[in-house]
């Protein structure tokens, strides 16, 4: 670290007095000509690595390496206790058969797709609310924050709340259905409804998230373009479609990315609301893998890793898409 120390005083004011002293501010030395130590000579080249080192180290150890370890682990059978047994692709083969037999893996995958598609409803939903709230009336800021509220709460709480909402005996849903003369339904107990029920719960905070993204996006919409549109005779929906939405593309993009990722990562809600049930019909890959690897009846680490790898490969499509568009943007600059 010696290089960091300031040069000793006699060096500092060695100050080669070049040229005429600048008369306007009294004698001026060229500020410092410290001995050009290694650091001084190379600081611009070394500084970034110095700043990056801790971040990269952490990230490598905790994120990047584990991804590869998981790939590796998925080739083994391991219960977390004894020795690992090399299986080759057997875990994947098992997954394949589970898929063919429409077992847990198939259900998880299917549910993941349902999540993916339905979760995207958060985007139009968020846009709708954002449009509704993008006004300037008294107290609107408070309204905006309150609408955003669900996103701030833990999914655990959201899960509990919705579980009560759906409760077949006293849930508000059935009370409401009763009002309009429909029979009680047990959303979380019906294998055909359960996934949709959980997604609805997940859509609640996610819509709030998309809403805030769109609100910030709407803030950035160029008012002159709206005015140009008005002069051009675009109104209402046509204005929205032709002029506003194209400008909201960055917000839509981010909303899309976070929603997809949220859908693929979905774990908390399922774990809280149904534990994957009834009879495993609400599982998704993320939950299934946790169940297989770390739950009370699990500890098939290799198999869990294989599921994670499949999930990762799906996600990789989206990561690649995201990086690609970021790269394009970077190059564009």
């Amino acid at each position: 670290m010696g290089a960091f120390r300031r040069a000793p005083p006699h060096h500092r004011h060695r100050g080669v007095r070049l040229g005429a002293p600048c008369p306007w501010i009294g004698p001026v030395q060229v500020q410092t000509l410290p001995k050009r130590g290694f650091w001084a000579r190379n600081q611009r080249r070394l500084a970034p690595w110095l700043f990056l080192a801790p971040g990269i180290a952490f990230f490598l150890v905790y994120v990047i390496l584990p991804v590869f370890q998981s790939f590796n682990l998925s080739l083994y059978e391991w219960d977390g206790l004894g020795a690992k047994e090399y299986l080759g692709l057997r875990n994947y083969e098992d997954l394949y058969w589970e898929f063919v037999d429409r077992d847990a893996f198939f259900i998880s995958l299917k549910n993941n797709l349902i999540w993916l598609f339905l979760y995207l409803l958060a985007i139009p939903g968020g846009l709708f609310i954002a449009l509704f709230l993008n006004q300037n009336v008294w107290g609107i800021r408070l309204y905006k924050s309150l609408f955003f509220f669900p996103f701030v709460i833990s999914q655990v709480v959201v899960g509990l709340v919705f579980a009560w909402f759906y409760d077949p005996a006293f849930g508000l849903l059935n009370v409401a259905l009763g009002w309009i003369g429909l029979g009680p339904i047990n959303v979380l107990g019906d294998e055909n409804l359960v996934t949709y029920g959980i997604i609805a719960a997940g859509l609640w905070p996610q819509t709030a998230y998309c809403m805030i993204l769109y609100l910030t996006g709407l803030n950035a919409v160029d008012p002159e373009q709206i005015e140009a549109g008005r002069l051009d005779g675009a109104k209402g929906l046509r204005m929205l479609w032709h002029i506003i939405l194209p400008q909201l593309r960055p917000a839509t993009f981010i909303a899309f990315v976070v929603t997809i990722i949220g859908a693929l990562r979905s774990f908390d809600l399922i774990s809280i609301m149904t534990q994957g049930g009834p009879f495993g019909s609400s599982r998704v890959l993320a939950f299934y893998m946790f169940e297989v690897a770390l739950s009370e009846y699990g500890f098939r680490m290799g198999y869990g890793a294989a599921i994670a790898v499949v999930l990762f490969l799906i996600m990789l499509c989206f990561i690649a898409y995201f990086l690609w568009s970021m790269w394009r943007e970077e190059k564009g600059h």
Binding site: G80, L81, L188, G189, G277, P278, E296, Y297, R300
Partner: protein, 394 residues
């Protein structure tokens, strides 16, 4: 005289059992003043995963766990000490014979039990009395009772299958009563096909109850505790459960006059009655440092007096494992003890998720739950379980 450190890990995190254990350890300490005992109590659910870590990483000298298949992974991984020597000692060999099987793998014993409890039907005696029913003694009276209850607008049985294992209890009883203990164990060990006619018979019996409307609706959304209020409020007349259900039922206000117990009646008169009686155990980790003190502690735990003390109604409120102990004077304990010691000729099972390997237990209990909701899916469910069996028991 024992010296050194003795590290004990416990999962008895609920207040009552925790106090019981701490008292017992204090007594042990008194007898061995030079021993430095250190007790760690871990949350019961957490313990189930944490044990995998501490057995390898920093092993205590004593740890509690469960019998039968539940301890198999650790035995296989060489993480539990072989304590066959203890079981060779007369005191234990004589008095604990009934549980020896549950502690045995590969012909060796890997720990000692410290408590167990009966399963059976807890029911609302007042409702039975109102309807003029009495405890059933065979399958027909069982069904007839049930029909009467259903006709009165109630469910015969409450159950919450959200966490699956409660359905395992029903399967245990129906299968043991239909096909007998040995067949049940063979099924758990993967030796019988799930598509075997005998298995199907079990499910056919079960289906009779389901079709009758014996069980409460929407049980798949409740945990076992959430199913209790149905019984408390009189919407359901009975609960097939372990003895631990008694405490919350009493807490909820049911008196001993309202609450009663009967043994699950015979279905197939040709098979002997067998019971579920899950056993909780103590083990010495293979990596323990003070195994001598640990063995002494195990001896202490199973000794007749200690067993009497810790299992009494004020403490664990369960059954002592030592034949020489006294069973506390509690209505349910007495009935249970009597049932297990004299009316369970077929044998004593641990419980489905302890007798079957974890993975099979998980898949099958999911199937049971599905069956209870959608009995028509039986063939598909059994086919799936059969596939799982072929994969799991290689």
């Amino acid at each position: 005289e024992l010296t050194g450190d003795l590290k004990i890990f416990l999962d008895t995190s609920n207040p009552a059992p925790r106090a019981t254990m701490e008292k017992m350890i204090a007594d042990f300490q008194e007898a061995h003043p030079d021993l430095n005992i250190e007790t760690t109590v871990i949350d019961r659910e957490a313990y189930k995963t944490q044990i995998r870590n501490f057995l390898t990483a920093n092993a205590p000298d004593v740890a509690n766990w469960y019998a039968a298949n539940r301890m198999k992974p650790f035995v296989d991984a060489g993480l539990f000490e072989d304590v066959s020597d203890l079981w060779a000692e007369a005191e234990i060999a004589d008095n604990l014979a009934s549980t020896k099987g549950a502690m045995t793998i590969d012909g060796k014993q890997w720990g000692v039990p410290y408590t167990y409890y009966q399963w059976g039907v807890y029911y609302r005696k007042d409702i039975y009395d109102d309807l003029g029913l009495s405890e059933p003694t065979d399958w027909d009276s069982f069904k007839a009772n049930c029909q009467a209850i259903v006709d009165s607008g109630k469910a015969c049985f409450t159950i919450g299958t959200k966490y699956l294992w409660t359905a395992g209890g029903w399967f245990d009883y129906l299968n043991m009563r239909t096909n007998g203990f040995d067949f049940h164990m063979a099924l758990a060990a993967g030796e019988v096909s799930w598509e075997d006619e005998r298995v199907k018979q079990t499910f056919a019996n079960w289906r009779e109850l389901i079709d009758m409307g014996a069980f409460i609706d929407n049980h798949q959304t409740y945990s076992w505790q959430e199913a209790l209020p149905f019984m408390v409020q009189g919407d359901a007349a009975g609960y097939l459960m372990g003895n631990f259900a008694v405490a919350p039922l009493r807490e909820a206000g049911l008196t001993d006059d309202q609450l009663d117990f009967y043994q699950f009646p015979a279905i197939n008169p040709d098979v002997e009655l067998a019971e579920d009686a899950p056993t909780d155990t103590f083990h010495i980790p293979a990596n323990a440092t003070n195994k001598e003190a640990a063995r002494e502690f195990l001896r202490f735990v199973v000794s007749a007096d200690v067993q009497t003390e810790i299992n009494n109604g004020k403490n664990l409120g369960q059954l002592p494992v030592n034949a020489a102990s006294m069973v506390d004077d509690d209505k349910f304990l007495n009935e249970g003890f009597k049932m297990l010691s004299s009316n369970s000729p077929g044998g004593v099972a641990q419980f489905w998720d302890r007798d079957a390997p974890a993975e099979m237990a998980k898949v099958s209990m999911e199937g049971f739950q599905e069956f209870m909701v959608k009995p028509d899916n039986l063939d598909r469910i059994l086919a799936k379980l059969e596939r799982a069996r072929q994969r799991i028991y290689k």
